[in-house]
Amino acid sequence: MLRASIEYSGSGGQLGGITEGSKAGDAGIEHGERLTAFADAAVSGDPAALATARDALREAAGSAVVVDAAGVIGNFQRMVRIADGSGIPLDTMVDTMSSDIREDLGLEGFESRRLAEQGALAKLFAPVARGAAMLGLRIAGRRGRR
């Protein structure tokens, strides 16, 4: 979804913030470094680091950004547990669209990578499907920004 939103916005953002956190800097996304630092601190459970990260984000981007980011953090603490706790596979479309970035970001090494095995046909057509979808998002984004 991050890649899709980057394509839509035309921002030139990168995906490194997902796996590298604040070490990736802003990664082409406004306040990206502070947002990932906030997420890191919230998941780590270190209250001092969390207060520092929250204050830094508030100072740079404002209270509304802190609240919305905290909402997303809370939401995805839930989503990952629903997925892992129910043993669902990856949806075929998501599997197809994300196979290249999973490799790039090292996500294939996660323990939860267990049920989602792409079929041969999906693997064959994945690059074409990805290219078409990303082109569609870029066009939709340009229209949306007009």
Partner: protein, 243 residues
């Protein structure tokens, strides 16, 4: 006393977030499909016990979480398999396995009760996670309401796609206003207990995006979609969640 009174927060919190959190707390207190109100509140309480559980800490450090035996620090209300479910989901979800899930069934936990407890647990974890991120104390748990579970199972279940039975996409997509027959697995995951899917939908709309907003990419919050997905992706990666 009003629950989820965010007036003391240094950062003004949107009313729709407070309202959604209140609805979830009320829902947790109510009698469920397979669990009583008291059991549901106990599930929520158990997620908080899990965070300070010595066994969970030891398992988290172990090469395999299944190599460490012992007893959880728990509230003493719920049966042992459900306590284990809630503790592992709370503290080490990425290393759960189908074999472990099946062992809970062998110990007498039904898949239905497992899914309902999962829905209540993740809802509590999510709202507590929001409070934690905001530097706010966790909300006191609600008083449970009386009543008998309805014990109604959907009649369009599909087995074998995940560990738990799930509803077929057709009926669920229509119910949730999704494109015909298109309900992604993460939405179907809790559908053995449909009320938990509707609760997921309600809370997601406030904390993340509603389903229509998910399909589009326009900015609808103080952070744009790239920023939202950066935070979502980072939290998922830190939890070693492949999805």
């Amino acid at each position: 006393m009003t629950s989820f009174d965010y007036a003391a927060s240094p950062d003004p919190i949107r009313n729709d977030l407070a309202d959604a959190h209140r609805r979830q707390w009320q829902r947790i207190a109510n009698t469920g499909t397979w669990l009583t109100g008291a059991q549901r509140v106990a599930v929520a309480e158990e997620t908080r016990w899990a965070r300070d559980c010595a066994l969970c800490r030891e398992r988290k450090r172990a090469l395999s979480p299944f190599a460490v035996d012992g007893e959880h620090d728990h509230a003493g209300v719920l049966p042992a398999p459900m306590v284990d479910e809630i503790h592992r989901v709370t503290t080490d979800a990425a290393r759960l396995s189908q074999k472990w899930f099946e062992s809970l069934l062998e110990q007498g936990l039904s898949a239905d009760a497992y899914v309902e407890a999962l829905g209540v647990a993740v809802c509590t974890i999510s709202i507590d996670g929001f409070h934690h991120a905001m530097g706010l104390p966790v909300e006191p748990l609600p008083e449970p309401n009386d009543g008998e579970p309805t014990r109604e199972r959907p009649d369009d279940l599909v087995e074998g796609e995940a560990w738990v039975p799930m509803r077929a996409p057709k009926g669920l997509s229509a119910e949730l206003g999704l494109p015909a027959g298109q309900a992604p697995y993460v939405i179907r995951a809790l559908s053995l207990v449909p009320a938990e899917v509707h609760a997921w939908d309600d809370l997601s709309a406030a904390q993340y995006l509603n389903k229509q907003q998910m399909m589009r990419f326009e900015k609808v919050r103080a952070i744009d979609r790239s920023q939202i997905e950066l935070v979502a992706g980072r939290v998922s990666a830190l939890n070693e969640c492949f999805y």
